[in-house]
Symmetry: D2
Subunit: 106 residues, 4 copies
């Protein structure tokens, strides 16, 4: 994810506003939680959320995730792939199929 | 973000385990909040978090974001760009430079 | 809430461990979010959560709320009552009855 | 916490608005996470949060905690005490003093 291009755009956006000073990893992690809460608010009393609101809030979560990845020197696409490989092993198809059970109880 | 390839991999991973039944938008939004909390835990008492732990937890947040985007029919990269354009207008460089003030108080 | 007695017990617990140094308001706010995520995890894939787990996680959220209230000099019961009065006015019975609509759209 | 009186007030508030239908345990757990995110937002870019805002957001978290406790049949003060006893044993004074290390690494 984040083709090179998008990462550059976010970096430019931040630099133009001199916001890098606020974007410590801890502050970005807080921001991800805050925006995740706003995304969850779309589903607070209903499963049938407003699509435009979900789009806007999910974009906020993703943006802070990309900023944190950039700050930490992670390639977002690579870390998702790396974790997916771990999850594949924790949840082998034959055991995990059709079950939401956590791996340590499979 | 999420080049076509990664989206496909996640879809295959989910399908092989028959997990699509659990991945309602509301459940994915909950999952994003839960994983965001685990990411924040890396910074609970310190600004100096363990890099491998941050990588692993950020990957979880991103994965659920990509699953939700896919479920809602959003292109993750496109919605980040779209929101960035809105944020650019809410926070013009000359007003926002070097300040963490919210747009409605700029 | 938090009868005097419980506040004292929490204060003693913290002082004995010399943990007051970690309990800045910002760290306690992070802790509340982290524990709220663990509580939410009880309901990640089901509405039918394990009661003992919910009890334990809710207790953690409450504990950090009480620690933050204490740190900020708030009486927990008083601030809940104060906010309830505001909410009563935002959501008058005749308009809000049976609806989960947010006050600014009532 | 929640002297009998406050629990009754919250129950009346909810009943008058016929909101019990929205207050499933899962929805209340989501609400706690959402409000915890708003509380965290007070500390997003600063450790020096606005006191009135913190008071208001903490009150919201507490309110939903009390509603969930009531819904699950828990006595809020009792479950905090019960958990405190467990935490006392996990973090004995002589080992935990002055350290923020998690119990499984003490």
């Amino acid at each position: 994810m984040t083709t090179q291009g998008l990462g550059d755009e976010l970096r430019t956006f931040t630099a133009e506003r001199d916001w890098d000073q606020f974007h410590s990893p801890a502050n970005l992690a807080k921001s991800i939680s805050i925006e995740a809460g706003e995304l969850l608010e779309c589903f607070q009393w209903t499963d049938d959320a407003d699509i435009e609101r979900v789009k806007s809030e999910l974009a906020d979560v993703l943006t802070y995730c990309l900023l944190l990845a950039d700050k930490m020197g992670f390639d977002p696409e690579a870390i998702v792939r790396e974790k997916l490989e771990i999850t594949r092993q924790k949840y082998p198809v034959d055991k995990a199929r059709g079950r939401s059970t956590k791996y340590d109880r499979l």
